[in-house]
Symmetry: C2
Subunit: 477 residues, 2 copies
């Protein structure tokens, strides 16, 4: 198309969008578009044509219908905290913001549910329900700024996944705008509902490739009565891994069971100054919650287990404030590491928890092999590790080695019965590797679903489905 | 096709099936086919052409491929305990049995998982893991004879859904044979896995319309240390409903919170002779589990709440045996009611738990309006009720009134924010009503998925998707 025609087409689309959401909610300024040209993932950037902010589900549906008819790409976006380039508007088109849909619609104390719009900040949900003695367990590290819409699209995890599961496990009902402009509702305030396919969980974690979630009803549980935190210190990573397995084998499921390696401990301490011991090889941060007498009993037993697995020290957080400080420190691990080098690449290869020690060791060996710096921390109880590469995007040679190292890490995770991504999503960063996990036949099933629901392929182009699958490192050897 | 041609085609298919699974595993005898011409649902029967029993996933895949190529309908089936005619071979073709795939493949105590073939009896899984101090919570009433494959296809619920959720919540990984003859694997021994769409949960509850589950890895949790049971007796159904809400509002989630009306109590007592009080209007059977001190505390509080909500008596089960007797009695409610009249139609309209009392009252009024006998029992904590009609299929006039009554019950459930079916599935019985819950656009999404995965429509024909949607009672008035 000639540039004149393109300009005319864009002008028409702008008018049509303005007719739906109002002129003040369609931004095509260079600065406005620049802000939404990237997300929290390093090295991915592309300019959208318009940034559109609808006020309600009907406007979202109308925008999708318009985009569907005009073949305009749509990238729905909350706060853009994802780490797989899922909200990068890679082919131009529209970034669809949830910022004007940020209301808590209802807190239903009789049915223990909260109904929210997608733009509500996750932490606001937690705080709102905790004020009522209730609990929304999913707590992605970004919860202070992430939106629940983003959490739903990515099926976010967090630090409490071991005991309480992930976002998916707390979604009871959705309202969804489909690419064809229809609005559908799935589920209800119902523990049990088998009326038709589980569309709720199909859309949760579909990374904005099938439709836009415009409302969600989330399940709440009673707030645990008390909570205790311990730190177990190790001079031996294997011993930390064995402790994780031993705790579970003793039939205790802590709410949080986090692992930090020495690199991460040092970075976090340097950042947060909370007195973490920087001379140990690994730390387990362990939290249990529940009725006070049970928490006391469990924490005592867990401490015993850690000691018997060669923890050099086990420290009980003296107060709630100290426990909160430790949790905040752990949540800051990415920020802390990110200060050390110009570029930080955080992955989330995940393995069965019995394979944690093997995987941590493999990551070290792979980092050494490719001469790159990888620190590892993560949710050890889930087997959900965050190998984090500290590098510099300007160093092309190093970046190539980084990519090879991560490919090998993915391959190792899958070999151990794990997955490419535990909680960050596929997006662009892991799309070329997805077939390693799902096989060609699995990808075909996904493509069929995508084609059925979004036949014109307008939703989040360039994500999840790769044009080419990367060759396996092992095969390429 | 002429009958000669049909016979020839069937003869060829038989040979092809025998080549895959062995001649002894293809049954086309009249008696063999008759056995699998119906399931636990009254009034549905059709003869299959062949009953085929594959030995492993590869044979299942090969049978599906063959059926796909020849356009032969396939109905996969476990023990046939479903209550929505889901395993009735309505268009002839093949009943695919899981009886030869009945092995527990692995109990992984480190990762708290069990991996099973689809033909394993649910109760065997429970017993196996409980012997190791572990727990598989889903406990459909039919668990003594139902297969886990059937539970997965139907996303079965049970008596512990309130606290522990349903089958779906315990599935970590699947192997699935697709209609095209491919085998895929989804998930892993992973609490967190966001590599691609949630195919695991798409196939769970898809009622055999998309593929055949050939292996499943299920999540286990530590076995609760102790358990206590109480019976609360009421002369007022509303008071029982209010007790349910009040217990939850006090931030306690019992493992079981069952409701039985007087009709059901009398039938169960007549059947089981365990000394249930038959002079009360309603009973709540309440179970709490967990650490002993917490169970004692909760049960004490729950008893107080029931009394303050006008329970005429609250009785603590004196021993584990007595508690087990009560649970068994509740599980026998369907069998007990089924003895009273020639035909028993059990439904599972489900509402948010705050609407239990309203729904129970509505069911009574509807039964009276249509002059039919409906007893109600069910999982009050989930809002999952089982209105059960005692009738006689030979009485055509009455059967028409029964159908109208259930249509109105479904409509009322949806009006109250509920669903057609909490745990039984859509199958044939609820297919004509499904659009009432999902809307035309929701059904279209499901049809798209079905078409993408099973383009020749061989899997469980005549189920879930109705040829015609029933008119709404309210509109027809």
């Amino acid at each position: 198309m000639s540039s004149v025609k393109v300009k005319k087409k864009k002008g028409l689309l702008k008018k049509q969008l303005e007719a739906v959401v109002g002129a003040e909610n369609v931004d095509d300024s260079a600065s406005g578009r620049l802000v939404y040209s990237y997300d929290a993932t390093p090295n991915y950037q592309a300019m959208p044509d318009f940034v559109v902010s609808p006020a309600n589900a009907e406007e979202v549906a109308a925008v999708l219908k318009l985009c569907n008819e005009t073949g305009t790409p749509v990238y729905s976006r909350g706060s853009g905290t994802n780490l797989c380039a899922d909200t990068c508007p890679v082919n131009g088109g529209i970034v669809l913001l949830s910022k004007r849909m940020d209301q808590i619609i209802e807190l239903d104390k009789e049915n223990l549910t909260i109904t929210v719009q997608p733009g509500v900040i996750t932490k606001k949900i937690s705080e709102t329900v905790e004020n009522e003695g209730l609990f929304y367990p999913p707590d992605p590290s970004s919860m202070k700024i992430s939106t629940i819409g983003g959490n739903l699209s990515e099926n976010s995890g967090g630090l409490r996944g071991l005991k309480y599961g992930v976002t998916r496990d707390y979604v009871m009902a959705l309202q969804i705008a489909l690419p064809n402009g229809e609005l559908i509702r799935t589920g209800g305030k119902l523990t049990k509902d088998v009326a038709g396919y589980d569309l709720t969980r199909l859309f949760v974690g579909s990374e904005g490739t099938l439709g836009v979630i415009t409302e969600a009803t989330l399940k709440l549980i009673p707030k645990p009565e008390s909570q205790k935190t311990i730190l177990a210190l190790y001079q031996d990573i294997e011993a930390a891994g064995r402790s994780v397995s031993a705790i579970i084998a003793h039939k205790m499921i802590p709410v949080t069971l986090e692992f930090l390696d020495q690199d991460t401990i040092r970075a976090v301490e340097d950042f947060a100054h909370i007195g973490l011991p920087t001379d140990v090889k690994a730390i387990l941060l362990i939290v249990q919650d529940g009725p006070k007498e049970i928490v006391d009993r469990d924490i005592h037993q867990i401490a015993e287990i850690c000691r018997s697995e060669n923890a050099v020290d086990v420290q009980l957080a003296a107060s709630e404030e100290e426990a909160e400080k430790l949790a905040t420190a752990r949540r800051s691990a990415l920020s802390a590491l990110a200060r050390l080098k110009p570029t930080t690449i955080l992955e989330d290869a995940t393995v069965p928890r019995s394979e944690i020690a093997t995987m941590v060791r493999a990551i070290s060996e792979i980092a050494e092999k490719y001469d790159v710096r990888i620190s590892t921390f993560g949710h050890a109880g889930d087997g959900n590790l965050h190998p984090t590469c500290l590098t510099d995007a300007r160093d092309e040679d190093e970046m190539q080695r980084v990519e090879k190292a991560f490919a090998e890490i993915f391959e190792k995770a899958i070999e151990l019965g794990g997955t490419l991504t535990g909680e960050h999503g596929v997006g662009m960063t892991k799309a070329p590797y997805l077939e390693w996990k799902l096989g060609a036949a699995g990808i075909e099933v996904m493509r069929g679903i995508k084609q059925a629901i979004d036949p014109n392929g307008i939703m989040n182009q360039g994500k999840v489905f790769a044009e080419e699958t990367r060759e396996r490192v092992a095969e390429a050897k």
